[in-house]
Every structure is written in C-alpha cells, then in structure tokens.
C-alpha cells in the first residue's frame, strides 16, 4: 500500500482522532493550569486516577456518565492537593507534582487491588459506543472519521471550544491568563490570586482525569496496571508545542495522533525489518522533538513556576 493512500482513508483519521482524544483532555487540562502559573506534573497520576475511578464507578453500577463524573471528581481531588501545596504554600511545583503523581498512582493501584484481590483477567465493563450523529455523519470524509467516535471524543472536541471561549472571551479567562503572567496586577484589581490559581488547577486536573477515563471507558473496557504509560508526560510536552492555546492543542494532539496511527500502519508494512520497539518509541521521541522545535520561541506564561504570596509587592 502506498503511504499517501494510508493518509487519505477516513479510517486512518478516525484512528488518529481516537489516539488524540485523551491527549486533547490532557493538554487542555495542563494548559489551564499553566496559564494560571502552575505546572501540574501530577498529570500522569491524575490520568491513572481518572482511568481507575471512572472505570470502578461504572463497574459498581454508576452508569457511564456517572463514571465520567466520578473520574472528574477524582481528578479535582488530586488537583486540589497540588493546588494547596503550590499556591498558598508556594512549594516546589516540580516536587509537589511528582508527589501527586506517586500518590494518585499508588492510591489507584492499591484501591483496585483491594477491591479485586485475586482476579486473573481484569473485569470488563460495557464502554461508550460509537455515536451516529445524523447530519455530521453524512459529511464527506469528515463524517466517516467522526462516525466511529464515542461521546467522550465529542466531549473533548466541545471542551476545546469551551476552554478557548472561556480563556479568551470571558472576564474569568482574562483573569486566569493575567494570574499566570502578572499575579500582582490581578491582586490590584481586587481579585484573589489564590482563588484563581486554585480554581484553575482543580478545573484543569478534572479535565486531565477525563483523559484517563477515556482510556478505560471508551478506548478499552478495563483497567490495567501501567496503562497510562507516559501519556501524561506527553501532554506536558504537547502543551509547550501548542503554545498554551486550545486550538493549537487540538491541532498538536491530532498531529500526534496521526503520527501514531501512521506508525502503527507502517509497522504492519515494514514491521518485518525493524523491531517493534522502534515504533513504540516514536510517540516519546516525537514529543521530545516537538519540544526542541518550539524551544527557541516558546512563550512560557511569565509567572509559571513562580510562587506568589499575599501581600507581596
């Protein structure tokens, strides 16, 4: 099969969008936190917690949307821990983030093992099913690519617009962006720096958790140990690549999904000549490459990583 042919099939783009979905949630979450001035390295653990909590809620009979809600709550819980440590207490965002990742991951694994002490194969749930949206599905090319997606992918796409609208079209968004660039100016406006930052981190973290929930409730139908496999860290890299903009985040995640879907197809074509690990390394190598490409012109939020204390001039 010709390489160009692969790129032109709706099937390929459907796969790319499927791979991109958790990353869209993750990058949106990370950019909301970072726009407010807080790097959230808890993301990898929050993905795990979202994947576990969402799946567990469905498995216990909460229903699929109950699971989504539960995952978001789990995400905001760990987000709140990170926010309290890094915003009012002003502790190292790097170390606190790693701590939250370790905590969320081990707590998820412990809970899963305690609830299901001796299962040989992970129990399955009935995941989200592909949607058939009347008008969208009839569009040429885009229709079939969207046709096989689930409600969670649609939610991710909607969230891109919601995040963009809130950040750039509302006073709240203006305040969030300002608090990540110049917190003292926000304080001078009579707004609370702490409240804005904590709120942004909690909201961003609940979005991250949905990325994890997509994996156990849509892409797969069960929870596995180690299933997040660095996706959270990839999102942190993609956030820089997307220059902290929701639209570019969608683009970056789609580009990443396309590369990943492409390497899977390439693997079936030329897999005999190269070890499979070479292909599996691609996502991580791509993320590093993306970081290097934008490194020179990356326009970090000016107050990112800088703690701010009340009463500080």
């Amino acid at each position: 099969m010709e390489i160009i042919d692969i790129l032109l099939t709706a099937n390929f783009w459907a796969a790319a969008l499927r791979i991109a979905t958790p990353l869209i949630f993750g990058v949106l979450g990370a950019l909301i936190c970072e726009r407010a001035g807080v790097l959230n390295l808890g993301i990898e653990g929050i993905f795990t917690a979202g994947a576990m909590a969402g799946w567990m809620a469905v498995w216990l009979g909460a229903g699929l949307w109950g699971g989504v809600l539960f995952a978001a709550l789990a995400g905001s819980f760990f987000g709140l821990i990170h926010a309290i440590l890094t915003v009012p207490l002003g502790l190292s965002q790097h170390v606190s983030g790693i701590g939250v990742t370790l905590l969320a991951t081990s707590l998820s694994y412990f809970t899963y093992r305690t609830a299901l002490p001796d299962v040989s194969s992970p129990p399955r749930i009935i995941p989200f099913q592909p949607l058939d949206i009347p008008i969208l599905s009839d569009l040429p090319f885009i229709g079939p690519a969207l046709l096989s997606q689930t409600a969670l992918t649609m939610l991710a796409l909607v969230m891109v617009f919601v995040t963009g609208w809130v950040l750039y079209r509302t006073p709240l968004g203006l305040a969030i962006r300002a608090v990540g660039d110049n917190p003292s100016s926000v304080e001078a406006q009579g707004l609370s720096v702490y409240a804005l930052r904590i709120g942004a981190v909690v909201a961003g973290s609940s979005l991250m958790a949905l990325g994890g929930a997509f994996l156990t409730m849509s892409a797969f139908d069960a929870f596995f140990f180690g299933m997040i496999n660095g996706r959270g860290w990839v999102c942190i890299a993609l956030t820089v690549f997307a220059s902290w903009r929701p639209g570019k985040a969608l683009l970056g995640a789609l580009l990443f999904g396309a590369f990943d879907a492409f390497q899977v197809r390439l693997q079936t074509e030329v897999g005999a000549f190269l070890p499979s690990q070479v292909f599996l390394m691609m996502p991580y190598l791509l993320s590093i490459a993306a970081l290097i490409i934008v490194a020179r012109k990356a326009d970090y939020p000016k107050a990112l990583l800088v703690p701010w204390f009340k009463g500080q001039r």
Binding site: L41, I81, L85, L89, G90, L91, S92, H94, V95, S96, I98, G99, V100, L102, L103, T105, S106, L107, Y109, F110, R113, T114, P117, N229, G230, W233, V234, I236, A237, V240, P275, Q277, V278, L280, M281, Y284, L285, S287, I288, L291, I292, A295, R296, A298, F309
Partner: protein
C-alpha cells in the same frame, strides 16, 4: 486570618525533626487505607516491622533494597541541589545496567579486581551520557529537562527490551527476554555468607560520603550550590553555569547508572526489563526526605527500603496489597514538602481587627 512569616534561622530540631515527623505521619496515615481494606491494623504494622528488621535475613533483604535507593537518592540529591530536575534516574539506571551486562557477561574476562571496576565505570559512564543530552538541551535551548528526562525513561525501557530480544539475548533463556548472566569475576560478592546484601552497599555508602565531602569541601561543590541557589548571581560572579550543570549531570547520571550496575551485578545477576520496581522515582523521595543531604540519603534510603520490604512481607502474610508501600512513600514525600514549608515559615493565626 492565617499569616505566614518567614523564619530566619530554623532550629536544628526543626531541620532534622521534620523529615522524621513526615515519615511517621505518612506511616500513621497508612492506617486509613489499611482500615478500609479491612486489615487488622496493629497486626499489619507489627508484620511490617518484623518483615524489615525481624531477623538477620530480613535486615539483609532490607539493605539489599536500600543499596540502589541510596544511589538513586544521591543522584536526585545532587541534581536537585543545582536545580537540575533530573526525573530520569530510572532510565539512567537501566542504561547503566545494560552497559554492565554488555561488557560484564563474557566479552572480556579478568580477575575481579579488574572486572568489578570496569563494569562499575561502564555503568556510570552510560548513566552519565544519558543525562548530558537533556542537560545541554536545557542550558542551550531552554528545553524543560523534567519532560525530556521523564520521556527518556520510556524510550530507554523500550531500548532495553529491544536489546534483550536482540544482541543481548541469552540463548539459554528458553525464549525469555533476558541477558546472559554476569560472569563470576564481575559479580559484586555478598558481604555475609548466604545473604543477599552485597558489595554494592559498600559502594553506595562510599559514594554518599564522597559526595558529602565533594559538595561541602571542594570548589566544584561550592559552584554547584551557588548555581542551585541563584543561577544568575552565580553567572555574574564568573561561574560557568553550563559547565557546572554538565558536571552535575555527569555525577547524577553516573550515580543512577551505578545503581543499575549494583542491581545487575550484585542483586539479580542478569538483566531483564523488571530489574527496577521504580528505584529511579523512589530516589526522588529518598533525596527529599534527606533534605538533599548526601549522608541523610543513607538514612532515608533505609527508611524507604524498610517500608518496601516490610510491606511486602506484610502483604504475603495477610493479603493486603503491597502497593501500600508505594502509598506510604508518596505520602511521606508530600508530608516532608509541607514540613519543609514549616521550617521556612511561621504560621500565625490572627484575629481581624475591627475598623475604627
């Protein structure tokens, strides 16, 4: 109103007591998940203590576990001192172990006093090389080293897997992806007969003491501390920040690489992709609990190792998931962070004065 006032000079009791308090609080907090899991709490704690310290054998197991943790803890401590956020010790550990088996499993042979230093140096160099790339990307292009070192962990694991299915594969392993065993003359000998604790522990302790002297007593050590405290001021006073960062990267990566050699040539004897249960990440906790002090790393590594070994043995006895250990370790990191805040600030509770 709660106010935070900076503390100018925290007392020694605070500085040394807070990490200990953090560890104790983390262990006590573990009672909550234990209770939720329906386990007998007192018995579980008893089993954990006897599992880590109950016999000569359990102490040997605990020290075997502490050995790589001391080395990865030192790797994190020296890097964090210079504010080089190396979260890639896990990958550097695997590169070190791979270098050790590449030349330590029969390519060359010689007496132990040559072979052991050779595999140690090979592993340290491999680990150091792994960290120089991300460090130069940071100093030259401003690429965040946290993300690159984290992502490299995943790349290295896949690379090790590839090598173990390829050139490093043991033909006698019945299809398992593992390397040939390290030859006898390169094996780090056990310190006590019929126990697992091996020469790696002595190497780790030596590294800790050497690093402490290096940081405190040499010009390079001073430069590392200066760059960590204020890179701009250090640069202004004529210290080359790039050079110092590369030096730190070599030390940090090298120490993590040594952890890999110690595991492969001392504990396991061959390389497989399950060599490390996250020693690289746990090293971060070890370093933070030690407040980045090299000698403190020894104590906190023993603490973390006893949590792991104790929880394993408790898990075998009463069936509570051994992920409890990871949970305790994660909580102690967060507790020591909060504790670190209390050494720097006084917390004042004030009543709002009414106007007029």
């Amino acid at each position: 109103m709660i106010r935070f006032e900076p503390r100018t000079n925290p007392s020694a009791i605070m500085v040394y007591g807070i990490p200990v308090m953090a560890a104790i609080i983390a262990i006590l907090l573990a009672a909550i998940p234990l209770a939720l899991a329906g386990a007998p709490i007192i018995k579980a704690y008893g089993l954990m203590i006897s599992g880590a310290f109950g016999s000569m054998f359990s102490i040997s197991e605990m020290l075997t576990r502490a050995t790589p943790l001391i080395l990865t803890g030192l790797a994190a401590a020296i890097a964090f001192r210079a504010k080089l956020w190396n979260i890639g010790a896990e990958g550097q550990l695997y590169m070190g172990s791979m270098a050790a088996v590449a030349i330590g499993s029969g390519v060359i042979d010689g007496p132990s006093y040559i072979m052991i230093p050779v595999v140690l140096i090979a592993g340290a160099v491999a680990g150091a090389v792994m960290l120089i790339g991300p460090t130069l990307l940071k100093t030259r292009l401003g690429v965040d080293e946290v993300v690159t070192t984290l992502l490299l962990n995943f790349i290295v694991i896949l690379f090790v897997q590839m090598m173990l299915e390829g050139v490093l594969k043991d033909p006698m392993s019945m299809g398992w992806p593992q390397s040939e065993p390290v030859i006898d003359s390169a094996v780090l000998p056990p310190l006590i007969e019929r126990m697992r604790v091996h020469l790696g522990l002595v190497i780790a302790l030596t590294c800790a003491v050497a690093l402490a002297i290096f940081v405190k007593r040499t010009v390079w050590g001073f430069e590392i501390r200066a760059v960590g405290e204020n890179a701009a001021a250090a640069r202004f006073s004529g210290i080359s920040v790039t050079k110092t960062m590369v030096l730190v990267a070599m030390l940090s990566g090298g120490l993590a690489g040594l952890a890999g050699v110690s595991e492969v040539a001392g504990t396991r004897g061959y390389l497989a992709t399950d060599l490390s249960p996250g020693y690289g990440y746990a090293g971060i906790v070890v370093a933070m609990l030690a407040r980045l002090s090299p000698v403190g790393v020894i104590i906190s590594a023993v603490f973390v190792a006893s949590v792991f070994v104790g929880a394993d043995s408790m898990s075998r006895a009463i069936g509570v998931s051994s992920y409890l250990a990871d949970l305790i370790v994660a909580m102690s990191l967060l507790c020591v962070l909060i504790g670190g805040f209390l050494t720097r600030f006084k917390v004042r509770f004030e009543h709002q004065k009414s106007a007029g």
